[in-house]
Each structure stands twice: as C-alpha cells, then as structure tokens.
C-alpha cells in the first residue's frame, strides 16, 4: 500500500455515489501510480462513467475522497493537470480541427505546440476541415488531441474506442502507450477485455458500483479462466448448480450453458446423471466471456490488493 499520498498520481478512497435512490458507486477505493495505465472494466451501468465524472469534478463528491496529485477534482489546479475524452461527445459542427485545438490549447498554461499536437493525434492535413466533415475515426482523434493538448499528467478516457474498427483501435492503443511512456497516468474505461489486456498495467472490474476484481491482466485472467459447456440435458438448472465445479448455469428448456472451473470432474458427474445428454460442446473462455455471461454474480471477487 502506498503511504506517500502526494506522490501518488491518483487516490480514490471509499467513494459512494447515489442518483436519487439509485446506488451508482458503493465504496470504491483504488490508487494509480504515475505513468501507469488503469483500465476500469465493467458492463453498462456498472458505474464506470460516474466514477470518471467524479474524478473530473463534473459531479460533486457525495461521500469519500479523491485526490489528483494532491488536488481536489474540479479545482483549476486539477483541471490544469487532467485531460479527458468523454463518452458520446459532439463538438461544434462549424469549428475546424485547428479552431478546436487552438481554442482548447488557449485554456492551458503550457499547451503542446500546435504541430506536435497535430502529429501526435495523426490529424495532419485535416486542420481546416470542419468537425461535421470528419469521419468517425477522425472525430475520435480530434477528441483525443483535445484531451492531450494541455500535456496532462492524468488522462481519462471513457470508452475511447467504442465504434472504431480494429485497425483504428490498434493505432489508438499505440498513441496511448506512447503517452504512458512519457509519464502520464491514464485511466481507461472499456467493455473490451482485449483492450484492457493490451494496454493496462492494472485492471479493475466494476459491477453494480462495486469493485469485484482487480489485478494485473495476467492475474485476472488466471483467476477467472474456465470452460463453457453447452449441452441438451434433462437436468434442471437447480440440479446442475448442485454439481461440483459449476460457476454458473443459464439456459432455456433443455438447452443449457454451464461455466465451470473444473470441467473434467463436472463432465463425469453430468454424464453419470443424464444418460440422454446430447449436443455437447466445450469451449475455453477468458475474462471477456465471463463478463458478458455473468452479469449478476461474477467470479468471486479476488482480493489482489495484497499482491499489488
């Protein structure tokens, strides 16, 4: 555990947040070291965006604390060291790429120089194009450029690659890695394990406002490795759940999907109990499938904090 608070890039402690009666965050704590990339993973509604907005000062903190290099979210000092790409942002259609970059750069005390910025966001030749005439990928690159124009120490990227094709995503990842190497701490939310896997030093899995898992990508994948068994069986979901090594059961009628951490033993008992079992298939799955399959109860939260 880090004890030197001011040196830490980011500290979040016991963050709770409610929208009316809906609980959005329920006791989230984590740290981010300078130059590290943290990926917050979770399905829609898990609280990722709320967490980002709190850290950016767009929402007032209700309970808990956030320190950005010792600064309070939303303060001018904090805003000077942060940059962000937000979800579903549309920039004014009538301003050109250069207009937008100059406008945002002007707000920063020591912005990146214009040509560097254009180059690092791969916007060469698009300077005089209006936002409305940009392609989806170009729009993202412009938003990325706006996020980094002030040389942020902390960069927040809220689902930055949603809707991008594979090649564009690869480009984007490269830019992020470059930035991280210059010492910028980055927080990235995503649906994609692949993305987290490719970029993050640490992953934090968020579900219903709680941290349900955290660790390095390797650690997380190890703890959540399993197999998906699909079959037709006369056993009920109830009966299936009682079997050894079953993590999750779902299905309709006779058609069942079972996730198991102990596939071989489970198959033995399955076949023993249901002689009519048919259409059997077995697939190895990663964290991503676990996530998409298991909404309510993910793999047991593995406390990896000690390991960190």
């Amino acid at each position: 555990m880090t004890t030197n608070h001011s040196a830490a890039g980011l500290q979040v402690r016991e963050l709770h947040h409610k929208f009316g009666k809906t609980r959005a965050l329920d006791g989230v704590s984590f740290d981010l070291e300078p130059g590290n990339i943290l990926s917050i993973l979770g399905p829609n509604g898990a609280g990722k965006t709320t967490l980002i907005r709190l850290m950016l000062g767009l929402l007032p903190v209700q309970q808990g604390t956030i320190h950005l290099q010792g600064q309070v979210p939303g303060s001018r000092a904090a805003r000077c060291i942060t940059g962000a790409m937000l979800q579903e942002t549309r920039l004014p259609d009538t301003l050109t790429v250069a207009d937008q970059l100059r406008l945002f750069s002007a707000a920063h005390p020591a912005p990146l120089d214009f040509d560097t910025l254009i180059r690092s966001a791969a916007l060469e030749g698009l300077e005089n194009r209006r936002y409305s005439a940009l392609s989806g990928g170009q729009k993202r690159r412009l938003q990325f450029a706006l996020a980094i124009c002030g040389r942020p120490r902390l960069l927040f990227l809220d689902e930055p690659t949603t809707g991008l094709d594979a090649a564009m995503r690869q480009d984007f990842w490269r830019q992020i890695r470059n930035l991280s190497e210059t010492g910028t701490s980055i927080i990235l939310t995503t649906h994609y394990l692949e993305e987290a896997d490719a970029l993050a030093d640490r992953i934090m899995l968020l579900q219903e406002g709680r941290v349900v898992a955290r660790g390095t990508p390797a650690e997380l994948k190890a703890t959540t490795r399993g197999r998906l068994i699909r079959c037709r069986t006369r056993l009920s979901a109830q009966e299936l759940k009682a079997l050894p090594g079953v993590e999750l059961v779902q299905g309709r009628g006779a058609r069942m999907e079972i996730i198991s951490s102990d596939c071989e033993n489970l198959l033995r008992s399955l076949l023993a109990r249901d002689s009519s079992l048919a259409d059997l298939s077995i697939t190895e799955i990663g964290l991503e499938q676990v996530l998409t399959h298991c909404h309510p109860s993910a793999p047991n939260p593995t406390d990896t904090e000690e390991a960190a």
């Binding site: 929208f19 907005r53 000062g57 805003r79 579903e88 942002t89 207009d99």
Partner: protein, 254 residues
C-alpha cells in the same frame, strides 16, 4: 494566470464562439434579417401614418429591442441547451478555462449580433424611414439596446439550462414571439387593450423598450429606475434559475 493571458483566453473564447455562430446560416440569417424585414414592413412600408416618420421612429426603438433580444435568447438558450446535451459543455468544464470565459464569449457574440442588427435597423430607418435624431440620441439608443441584451442573455441562459437541445428552439420561439408582441415591440403598446398594457408591465422586453423609447421621448412616462430595477432583478432571478438548472443537469448525470 496573469492579466494578459486571461485577456487572451477571453478573446480566444469569444473569437471562436463568434466563428462558430457565424458559420450557422440557420441562426445568422433569421437573426440578422427578421428584425430589419419586420421593421421595413411595419415601420416603413405599411406605416399607418403614411410618410410620417413618427411611427418609423417609435418602431425603430421597439424593433431594435426585438432584434437584439433574439440572438441573446437563441444564442444562449438554444446554444447552451444543445452544447450541454452534446457534452461540449462538460468538455469545457474539464478544461482549465474559467466558466466565465464561456459565458462571456456567448454574451459578446450576442452583443456583436445585436450591434449588427442595430446598424442595419439604423441604416434602414435613416435611408427609408426618414428617421432623424440628434447624433447623441442615435448613440444613446444604440448603447441602451446593446447593454439591454444582457438581461436577455441571462434569460437565454436560464432557458438553455433547463430545456432539452431538441426542444429548445421551439421553446425559445414559443416564449420570444408572444413576449415581443405582448411587450408592444411590434405594435405600440398604447394601441393595445388595457389588459395587455397592464400585463406588459410584468414583461422584461417592455421595460427595455421603455428605456429605449425614453431616448426618443416616446415612453409611457415611468421612472427610469423602475425599468432598470426591474431588469436588474430579472437578470438576477434568471442567473439563479440557470444555476439551479445546471446543477439539476449534473444530478441526472447528463
């Protein structure tokens, strides 16, 4: 930040706000054309008193008010509602630029539009409406109209902070046009039924129009301080409402 940096920041914000708005024909054309077209029709061509410049002079003040509050309401009301919904406002809030710079940019853009509308109207009034006033009166009228946009910027801010982007233009029109009519901006207030005349006392454009008409000596004779006081209180209320509206939008996580 030192003063020159701050100044540069404010001018940059204002410059791009102006460019952004100027490139929207859907905003620019109605804002710049409607007041002068309406004024030409009702103040000059269909002037009820023939070639007299009395009505043309009176209506110059009221259509001036009509003209300058348009960009204030639309620029702020619709602009803010849309930018809030598109997430642009959030992006601006994250950036180190002070929030005041954003609002100042919007206000100055509304004022530049107001200035253009004033120049247009004055030119038409002078060339075709035979309106003649002392130079100091022309300047004074222009100044009142220009400064008078501020309460309506605040009103636009209040509307924009509560309405949705899509419905904002309709909402602002629904408020702007009846407000203009009932405040006597199209037809002199003296020609309205007594009920409307009394109602007008409650409406902000009426008070700005009366201030403008005071320059021409054609107002209804209330105290200047009444009008200024009303507009000041109205501005304060709008700012308060806007603040509430923006807070509420935060609370919804929008």
């Amino acid at each position: 930040m030192n003063a020159s940096q701050t100044l540069k920041l404010y001018t940059t914000e204002s410059r791009y706000e102006w460019l952004k708005t100027l490139r929207m024909p859907g905003f620019v054309l109605p804002s710049l054309l409607f007041p002068v077209v309406f004024y030409s029709f009702f103040g000059i061509i269909f002037n009820p008193s023939g070639s007299s410049s009395g009505a043309a002079t009176y209506l110059l003040a009221t259509y001036g008010v009509f003209g300058v509050i348009g960009p204030a309401l639309f620029g702020f009301g619709v602009g803010l509602a849309i930018e809030r919904e598109q997430g642009w406002l959030a992006l601006k809030r994250i950036s180190p630029a002070p929030a005041m710079a954003y609002f100042t940019a919007k206000t100055s853009t509304a004022m530049i539009f107001a200035a253009l509308i004033i120049i247009e109207l004055f030119a038409v009034a002078a060339l075709f409406g035979k309106v003649a006033m002392a130079t100091s009166d022309w300047l004074f009228l222009a100044a009142i109209l220009l400064v008078g946009t501020i309460p309506f910027c605040a009103m636009g801010l209040a509307l924009g902070s509560w309405s949705r982007g899509k419905s904002a233009p309709a909402l602002v029109n629904l408020i702007y046009l009846p407000l203009a009519f009932l405040s006597g901006l199209w037809i002199p207030i003296q020609m309205m039924p007594a009920v409307i005349q009394e109602l007008a006392l409650a409406l902000p454009p009426y008070h700005l129009a009366q201030l403008a008409l005071k320059v021409l000596g054609k107002d209804q004779g209330y105290d200047v301080l009444l009008h200024i006081g009303y507009l000041a209180v109205f501005t304060a209320i709008c700012l308060w409402v806007a603040q509430r509206g923006l807070k509420r939008a935060d609370g919804q996580g929008a």
